[in-house]
Amino acid sequence: MSENILKFSMNRCTSVEPLDENTLKSACRLTDTFTTASVEILARLPDLEIVNVSGQFRHEWHELPDPNETLQKVLGIRIGSGMLKIIKGLMGEGENLEQLTYMVEECCHGIILALTKDILSHAPRDEAGKLEFFSNMVRKNIRLYNRCAAFAPGSRLIEGIEPPK
């Protein structure tokens, strides 16, 4: 037994591209030792409503029914706060559905991150400018406060900002 030979490996890639002015396509592809799968969603702006979803799933030994029937359950939901609970609730949490559900979530996260990237691209490059930029972000949306290490007490980004009441 060589300690350097892999027992398992996986590669998951999510990409987002605009189809037209009002539509974003997000695709997630998984290739691992046992699974080959893909999920693709179309989201309409500005509501970020999922207007189309499709996918395929092949596993080494699990026989899975056509995933598209399950995927259609997320049609019409909006990508936004609280969506993970909705996606899991609508698609179910059966063992064989875990990866499919996760890939829908990844597609949605991809879209959120694509839009987040647009915002972050406005951040200044210098340290002081960055501190001000991200502090203002917390001031504008206090839900960011204590949301992660960068916005937790002790961070320079929340100096002078009252915790949410």
Binding site: E3, I5, L6, K7, F8, S9, M10, C13, T14, S15, V16, E17, P18, D32, L45, P46, D47, L48, E60, W61, G76, R78, G80, S81, G82, K85, I86, K88, G89, L90, E95, E106, H109, G110, L113, A114, T116, K117, D118, I119, L120, K130, L131, F134, N141, I142, R143, L144, N146, R147, C148, A149, A150, F151, G154, S155, R156, L157, P164, K165
Partner: protein
């Protein structure tokens, strides 16, 4: 042209008989992070975890590395994803959490391969498919824990049955509070969460009620997630505190969260809003769209170009009786958008703190023109539309009625 791409690569090697080494890389347009994780094969226990930033956004992101150590000792069981989101995602960084979840997936699969290799020592012809076909992941982990003499993980909590019974509480006298309610009318916080009924809340009901009394609210409505307060419990609380306690539920639908009052039936899962509407109509209840435009952490509906006119076309507004336009957990812009949509559609507006902490109760509330004594009174008042959302805690209480909002915008 791609607008965004995220690549994750995770590999798992067996370092010795009982140890897996998992290496994960997440690389996308914004972040670059890596995790090295050692996991014990027999019980999928985290032996060590080390993180590394390659690229990040804020000058304070590097602080996340130290907080990763809070994951040491985690065990990959049914609740691991939630635990990672809650501890690693909230205390360290949600992108590390995302990669760590992938590492856990890889560890589970690699452990399966390792066990198959061990099983082949006794049966060289055993195929991997045969070995795995007979076992599920959870059976594997449970068997491993048993053999390791460990306590099995707690079963995932099943959804609590929701049965909002329209039993009337014995009428408590409105407290009036130790601080004066500054405005006329009967003010109720229609949206509060208590602990432990809502695990996401840190507000024990007794302390939350005392605070509601102290600030001068006339009552509160318990709207815990998927939790049933019985009429007897609410009656006891009302009598104990001499304060009006009412019941509702916050129910997750395919169109987002809904505050529901007067619902008799049980809702166990995420439900289609149209189905919920049918249920509520049957019981003559009332639905309020809770925080309908709660946005993302770094951008909101405004940045997406969502106008009140466009937002008002969302199907969900066909199925609700009112809109929560003052919610304590969203931004002012998001509340304003909700108010504009409600005004455009002619839907009544409510306010609620969405309190998850004692200090948050009453931040926003709803002022009724009539006194409320019972849940039946509340329903009648809600249907009568004689109420308005108020920023109750603010020194100068401000009324966000659709008319004042419109005049302010003009």
């Amino acid at each position: 042209m791609l607008k965004f791409a995220r690549n994750k690569l995770v590999s798992a090697a067996r370092k010795d008989k009982d140890t897996l080494f998992i290496h994960g890389v997440l690389d996308d347009d914004i972040y670059g992070v890596e995790i090295d994780l050692h996991v014990r094969i027999r019980d999928l226990y985290f032996l060590s975890i080390v993180g590394k930033w390659n690229r990040w956004t804020t000058p304070e992101c590097p602080r996340a590395i130290d907080f990763l150590q809070e994951a040491k000792g985690f065990c990959i069981d049914e609740g691991i994803d939630d635990r990672i989101h809650k501890i690693v995602g909230r205390k360290a960084c949600r992108h590390f959490a995302n990669l760590l979840i992938e590492c856990c997936y890889a560890a589970k699969q690699a452990a399966k391969v390792a066990r198959w290799e061990d099983a082949k020592a006794d049966n060289q012809d055993l195929s991997f498919g045969e070995f795995c076909g007979a076992k599920t992941d959870s059976e594997d982990a449970a068997a491993s824990r048993e053999s390791a003499g460990k306590k099995p993980p707690a079963a995932q909590e099943k959804p609590v049955r929701i049965s909002t019974v329209r039993a009337e509480c014995e009428e408590p006298q409105p407290s009036g509070g130790r601080l004066k309610n500054r405005a006329a009318g009967f003010v109720i916080d229609l949206h509060v969460h208590t602990f432990p009924a809502s695990p996401c809340s840190s507000a024990p009901e007794d302390r939350l009620i005392e605070e509601a009394k102290r600030i001068g609210l006339n009552g509160i409505c318990l709207t815990d997630h998927n939790h049933v307060w019985t009429p007897a419990q609410v009656k006891d609380l009302s009598q104990k505190h001499g304060f009006l306690i009412l019941r509702g539920n916050e129910i997750t639908t395919d169109q987002g969260d809904m505050l529901v009052f007067g619902l008799e039936s049980e809702i166990k899962k995420v439900i289609k809003l149209q189905d919920l509407r049918a249920e509520v109509l049957r019981t003559e209840g009332f639905i309020v769209a809770a925080h309908p435009f709660r946005g993302f952490l770094t951008f909101g509906a405004g940045q997406l170009g969502l106008t009140p006119e466009r937002a008002g076309q969302r199907a969900l507004f066909q199925w609700v009786d009112a809109v929560e336009v003052l919610n304590g957990k969203v931004t002012d812009d998001e509340n304003h958008l909700a108010a504009s949509v409600a005004a455009n559609l002619g839907l009544p507006s409510t306010g609620g703190s969405d309190a998850h902490d004692v200090a948050e109760v009453g931040h926003y509330a709803t002022r009724f023109s009539t006194n409320i004594r019972t849940e039946a009174d509340l329903l009648a008042a809600l249907k009568g539309s004689q109420y308005e959302p108020v920023a109750f805690r603010k020194d100068n209480e401000q009324v966000y009625s659709p008319s004042t909002l419109q005049s302010a915008e003009q």
